[in-house]
């Protein structure tokens, strides 16, 4: 399994439909300060079901929706689609390509879908449960957090071992 592409619409600093193509191996995302690199990481974390606004650097869940710029009005919805190659059937679902979608309207709740069929958050979490992917695993290291792996309290580090079990 690997990431093929991600499509953002109205998510943080991406008001218009934006596609990011991923490649196997090592790829880098570069760009000036404040240009939107960590927002791409936040989009990945969000579509995988992240519920903590703090991990998304916001105060309210709506802070992920494009809040306007000098020349654009705020939007009413944020949507992220993640397309994964599943030809090796890592994910327990009978498709060679899996698309996970999360959508949030201002003032509403999050809607989720797998291959364009609406589902619950729990279905998304169940999909990834044995892969180590997901908001809590180490598959996503936020900016400034690499040193926290060793500065957290011992009880918190226990979770790593449980994840590995």
């Amino acid at each position: 399994m690997y990431l093929k592409r991600m499509e953002l619409l109205g998510f943080k600093s991406f008001p218009t439909k934006t596609k990011i193509m991923f490649e196997p191996g090592i790829s880098c995302i570069v760009g000036p300060n404040g240009s939107g690199k960590s927002n791409v990481a936040d989009a990945l974390r969000w579509v995988l079901g992240e519920q903590s606004t703090k991990m998304l650097r916001g105060g309210k869940l709506e802070d992920v929706i494009f809040s306007g710029s000098k020349n654009r009005r705020p939007l009413g919805m944020a949507e992220v689609r993640l397309i994964l190659d599943n030809s090796d059937h890592t994910l327990p679902i009978d498709f060679a390509e899996v698309e996970v979608t999360r959508r949030n309207f201002r003032g509403g709740v999050s809607e989720y879908a797998i291959n364009n069929r609406s589902c619950r958050l729990k279905d998304i979490l169940d999909l990834f449960v044995d892969t180590g992917i997901g908001a809590d695993g180490l598959s996503l290291i936020n900016q400034g957090r690499i040193n926290e792996l060793i500065t957290v309290r011992p009880e918190e580090r226990r979770a790593l071992v449980e994840e590995a079990a």
């Binding site: 990011i20 490649e23 790829s27 995302i29 180590g132 180490l138 226990r158 449980e162």
Partner: protein, 154 residues
């Protein structure tokens, strides 16, 4: 439950020592159970000895050393429980050039097993990648994705 925990703990500690020695060019590291008799609740401490140093507690280690230990723990996790992809946001910010080289060499070896997406400002990390994407804000407040050729300067 507890036997699975003990087995995973032993594996993770072993792999942590391997990746630590790789990244630091020697020394040793391990994980330690704070209260081994209470296996279901005990915390997990880390024990590290960079080559040639005797330190009282790991808080005295430097910013770059702490990042390299965090990276060693991450690679240990990937060895015990591989995940298909891993995105890292500026984990190289505190590293000097020599450590970036060690980190990217290790990364390139693991690239067969997992897909890595690295957000970075450091030229040496960019050079280790096979594909490069740029995020810009040509229009103020609006992000755009562009494809970047490696030989362009940051």
């Amino acid at each position: 439950m507890s036997s699975r925990f003990r087995k995973a703990f032993a594996q993770l500690s072993e792999e942590f020592n391997n990746s630590f020695r790789r990244l630091f060019g020697g020394g040793e590291a391990s994980l330690v159970l704070c209260e081994p008799e209470r296996i279901l609740e005990t915390g997990v401490e880390i024990l590290v000895h960079p080559p040639g140093k005797k330190i009282a507690n790991y808080n005295l280690l430097s910013g770059g050393e702490k990042s390299m230990i965090g990276i060693a723990l991450l690679f240990a996790m990937l060895a015990v429980r591989p995940t298909p992809f891993c995105m890292m946001d500026e984990v190289d910010a505190a590293l000097d050039e020599a450590n970036i080289q060690r980190f990217t060499a290790y990364l390139q070896e693991q690239a067969g097993k997992s897909q890595f997406v690295m957000i970075t400002h450091r030229q040496s990390t960019m050079e280790a990648a096979s594909a490069l994407w740029g995020v810009t804000m040509e229009e103020e407040g609006v992000s755009k994705i562009v494809s970047v050729k490696l030989n362009q300067n940051d």
